[in-house]
Symmetry: C2
Subunit: 718 residues, 2 copies
């Protein structure tokens, strides 16, 4: 099936959503699917991975200048959107090859005018962006293309690039520095055009442009190709030189070759990643479109990056890496690109010093990973993440200081990688130390009362962020136990180069922690209370709680939110724990908890649906899993994501939901797992699909797997 989505017709209000939906990216940049003539107010962006900058209290990734900026003039009139209503308009995304395409036509008294573009963020050379632009008319006219670099760009929280200089010649050469660290940012842009035109340099405010003047010829499009290269002093010793090299090399290769090389990388990736769902084209498209997003934002080129929670779609959530990566995206990469998975884990290992610094700051030992991790593990999360709609005041939130489960998620991710790839080298490469430091962190946050024989973890936020500062969140405690067990195991296996006495003492501590940490038990109805006192909260329905809102933008959680004193939760919490530790519980208990918590879940996070879906498959109920699968897979295809919080843009893509959709398909519907060292499937296919097939890597061997309602096969690929 062709991997194409498109949007037909023009709706000027859709610019924010379409920018996400038609995003292209190559792991270094994400380019929003906005139109070439769009200025900052319509949210175009070339979002750069790994370069952060702080303006006032906001530290967020840097957007590159908009080197795609272009518009056309015919007979002296501008033809651009949204100013002039088009006769036809269509944008398309070939998500099989990461190509954005646009086609617009306008009717004027003398005839029809058409603009077509096609752009890529090269997968072959990630510092390269290429765009083809074609103008045609069915009459002879004087026409101009204006194209170049727009320095007046969209930033969520103010300007990051200052003191820029531009040389506006055949090559438009841009240089600037970031505010905070003075990182040099360099960009070059040039065009190739047919010979029968005149090219001059013009400037329009902050836009530095080529003006290409030509005469249109009926039946023949006028075509230019833009080459855009960039680099920064963060990754290149001499970014001016390296950007120039990329530009030169790509011009030498030429448009066709550049495109071929780009597409063959995509083909190679898809060969490992494609999941075919037979019997349901919609689901097939949604799932593979989700995988496209994961593939577009994976930092294959770098050794110091992971994937931000909103991918490379913008500056929302500060371009930071959350637990989303380890808990929701990692499996896809472990199964289809183990080398990329290794990089994601390595990012966490390399940022261990940042996590240790954070732990020390709060008076703990070991490693307390950043809730919102930027480079070096710096925690970009603020103490004030929500604005009170009633007073306009920032509200103290505790995501950064109390969501201690983050460190466990990272250990969990590493262990998933180890179990599936068998690549134990990562343990010697810092992984063992990381596990040990995370275990030490959890040991240091345990508290014990004199009269109890168990340890507690008090004053935390679990996955459900609506309930702050709770005690003994069962997810958090169970994850801590998991970390203790893993740490004791790797120490026993001799992975860390420490003295025997130190080793013995650590093992004793971790085993004591694992043995005595309180894991809340199911009550007489089989329900596991999410935290101490959860069962005493008001049991109001979701509809009741929603009806108490005085303002549809008000925060549900915090100290006084409508959900805070009720059992209504934001997202899967106990259900997430049950997913990870299903073997600890009977099917009956799992089933009771699913049914208890689902109606009490607002699903206010895109991470929620996936956990409910996966667990539904585990209890053999794919019918319950199905709508949550579709919700996850369609997170970036539908219009339903929260894009605005008041006047603040919080939209973007949802790679964790994309990763969850993959996990549901492969681990839920197909039921893939390892039993006694062997791959096996426990299919739980919903009636809506006939068959599902995909390839995965397990311990460096690739397998082809096919699962239908009555059989399945697992075949080695040679």
């Amino acid at each position: 099936m062709d991997k194409i989505i498109y949007d037909n017709g023009y709706d000027r209000k859709a610019y924010a959503a379409l920018g996400n939906r038609f995003l292209i990216g190559n792991g270094l940049v994400g380019i929003r699917g906005t139109l070439e003539e769009y200025t900052a107010d319509l949210l175009p962006a070339i979002n750069l991975a790994g370069v952060y900058d702080k303006v006032e209290n906001f530290r967020e990734p840097v957007n590159l200048p908009n080197a795609l900026y272009s518009y056309i003039k015919v007979d002296g009139n501008n033809y651009r959107l949204p100013d002039l209503k088009p006769a036809s308009h269509k944008i398309s995304l070939d998500y099989g090859h990461g190509i954005f395409m646009r086609s617009s036509s306008w009717t004027c008294p003398r005839g029809n005018i058409c603009l077509e573009t096609r752009r890529i963020a090269s997968m072959d050379d990630v510092n390269l962006i290429v765009m083809e632009l074609k103008v045609s008319a069915d009459f002879h006219a004087e026409a101009e293309i204006y194209t170049g670099i727009d320095t007046d760009i969209w930033d969520l929280n103010g300007r990051h690039l200052e003191d820029f200089s531009i040389i506006n010649e055949d090559i438009i050469h841009y240089e600037a520095r970031t505010h905070e660290e003075g990182i040099r940012v360099v960009m070059d842009e040039t065009i190739e055009a047919a010979s029968d035109c005149e090219i001059t340099s013009v400037r329009e405010d902050g836009r530095y442009l080529h003006r290409i003047s030509f005469i249109t010829r009926p039946g023949e499009a006028f075509r230019i190709v833009k080459y855009i290269s960039f680099d920064t002093s963060k990754t290149a010793a001499d970014p001016v030189c390296s950007s120039a090299d990329v530009l030169k090399r790509s011009i030498t290769l030429g448009y066709e070759e550049v495109m071929d090389r780009h597409m063959s990388v995509w083909d190679r990736l898809w060969d490992n990643a494609d999941v075919e769902i037979k019997g349901n084209d919609e689901a097939n498209t949604a799932l593979n479109y989700s995988l496209y997003h994961l593939m577009s934002i994976a930092p294959r080129h770098a050794d110091n990056l992971s994937i931000p929670a909103r991918g490379l779609s913008g500056q929302t959530y500060r371009g930071a890496v959350f637990w989303d990566t380890e808990m929701f995206m990692l499996d896809f990469f472990i199964f289809t690109e183990p080398d990329t998975a290794r990089k994601l884990i390595k990012y966490r290992i390399d940022t261990l010093p940042g996590a240790m610094k954070k732990a020390a700051h709060y008076g703990y030992k070991g490693a307390f990973y950043a809730w919102e991790s930027q480079e070096g593990g710096f925690d970009a999360c603020s103490d004030y993440n929500v604005i009170d709609v009633f007073t306009g005041r920032p509200m103290r939130t505790y995501f950064k200081d109390k969501q201690v489960h983050i460190s466990a998620a990272i250990v969990y991710g590493l262990c998933r990688y180890l179990d599936w790839t068998g690549d134990m080298s990562l343990l010697d490469d810092g992984g063992a130390e990381m596990i040990m430091q995370c275990a030490l962190f959890y040991l240091s946050i345990l508290v014990k009362s004199i009269f109890n024989d168990y340890y507690e973890i008090r004053d935390v936020i679990g996955p459900d962020e609506y309930h702050e500062r709770v005690n003994n969140n069962v997810y958090t405690n169970r994850m801590a136990k998991y970390v203790f067990e893993k740490a004791a195991k790797i120490l026993r296996e001799g992975y860390l180069d420490i003295s025997d006495s130190e080793r013995d003492s650590l093992i004793e501590g971790f085993e004591d922690g694992a043995k005595h940490i309180l894991i809340k038990k199911p009550d007489e109805n089989g329900i596991i209370p999410q935290f101490d006192g959860y069962e005493q909260l008001e049991d109001a329905s979701l509809a009741d709680v929603r009806s108490r809102l005085l303002n549809d933008k008000e925060y549900w959680g915090g100290a006084y939110g409508v959900a805070s004193d009720t059992r209504i939760i934001k997202q899967a919490d106990v259900v997430t724990m049950l997913n990870l530790f299903a073997d600890d519980y009977s099917l009956d208990t799992i089933s009771r908890n699913w049914s208890y918590y689902e109606p009490r879940t607002e699903h206010g996070s895109s991470l929620s649906a996936g956990m409910y879906s996966l667990l539904a498959c585990k209890i053999g109920n794919p019918g319950m899993a199905w709508p949550f699968f579709l919700k996850s897979a369609r997170a970036d295809l539908s219009e339903k994501g929260k894009e605005w919080a008041g006047l603040l843009y919080i939209g973007g893509t949802h790679p964790a939901a994309a990763g969850a959709a993959y996990m549901i398909a492969v681990e839920g519907f197909a039921g893939l797992s390892v039993k006694n060292g062997e791959l096996t499937c426990n299919p739980s296919l919903p009636k809506e699909i006939e068959e599902i097939s995909f390839k995965i890597f397990y311990k460096q061997q690739q397998y082809s797997i096919r699962v239908s309602h009555d059989s399945y096969s697992i075949d080695e690929i040679n």
Copy 2:
């Protein structure tokens, strides 16, 4: 000096404040200083001690029907306030004898009309209220007095007395039951009048009245006396009978004898309580007026009552007993009425089961006393004590569940009593058990981290209620240590009848707790941080923080209040700790902390000034103590108390401030203390006063003490 205050002239807006300022009481009832003709909207009340009733979510003390209700008619016209502007008006309080007096005159075309009343809540028979009422005119006129029982009374949160029945004859007999527990409430009222009048019974809506018709005679007042008796099934097996007995007896005694007996009780009390301040009449009046309030509300008659935080002035704060009693009022009674002090402590001993129930409810051992204690130790404090002015929603507060320092205050009160009276019988009478259970409670809330060698108390509210859910509040932790030490001591002294092994184990536990509990130390500037992380809060000035208010009624504390994330505190906290444990610290440290915290204190509680004043005396700076003394002593004389929270009346008297004023005079200015078993004074007299003299009891011996700037004397009284 006469003990009289008065208010001259009539201001109709002053009814709420004057009701408090001219309050009379006898420990069983408090009668607000409102005018006889006032109906419910002007807040008259006969507030009854010890009878509580719940309406919806509000459990508050019961107001008796208004049996003082009276007004007069002359020539068919009503003469009553505020309807008809008076020619002159004056109310007075003889606070030496607990007598409220009122005198009003009106001018009409035919001449002048005068109404005079005088009322007491009998100290001799606490179930008796007596009022004299005189009407005169300087012309002959047809006049009527309407007087009886107004059943339409002021209640803060709805009606408490239901199904009442009235017999409206010579004796107006009222019976009703409370909502919640069906407690029977009985009241009888009758009048004595001169013979030349006609008396009939009338009813005006909810008012059941005698109409006394007579002809006025110039130069001669027409006089009646009202006798009012009451009782409830809470204290009498047959309240109808016992109320009738009181009425009969008082009529037999007659007005003069009733008044004589009442006044001689007051004289006796004053003989022990009077504090004479020479050289400053204003301070002398303010202080003794404060003592009057304490004397008016002491439950000498009962064995199961203590003193509510607003005395008997109304239903504010649910008529409940707070730590105010032990920390601020108790010393006055220990020094002047040790038997009454014993009753106040005994109330806590007797409510130990309630405190143990509360501890168990929260999962703790031992005794967690009520933050707002009603009968039996029931905690009347709500989980929601504040209304958000922006949303109108109740805000979750933690006064009830996290203000754990309450139990220590009670132990502290008992130990003060023991130390000063030498009456160790209270230990055998349940006191030892109480101390042990409080210590057990603190032991059960200690937590320890694996890597620390000390215990912590986390997630509490200290005296400063603006900062919720803090860790290691130094006041709380130091008080817990104190309780551990006291408990270990009484156990070592053999006060509890338990096995040796149990005793040893408890002693070991308490001594371990005392030794290892974290008491935060002064920092490099000598400042003791109020709790973990206090020093990292914003150091905004009080004026800055006040300027951030968007609504002058908004709550400063809670999760998002203007003070919450700053160092601005509501009331003395570290300073309270330093007062109680001054011997643990150098004068320099005490002085630095006083100077550091005072400008950061809003003094949003009437408990605050007293602690600052006392500590200023301890560091030999009575000049700094003086304004805080005046503020405490004048708490109920000035207009500055917070009386309204939005539309809610939260006014009333401030007996804790009154008690604090006494402590400042006696323990601060006079510097009275016990050293090596001997009374001694360490005078710290402010320049505003010349001499201070008073009597106190110490170990059953009364002493007369006189302190001037250059000498002092302590003399035994034989």
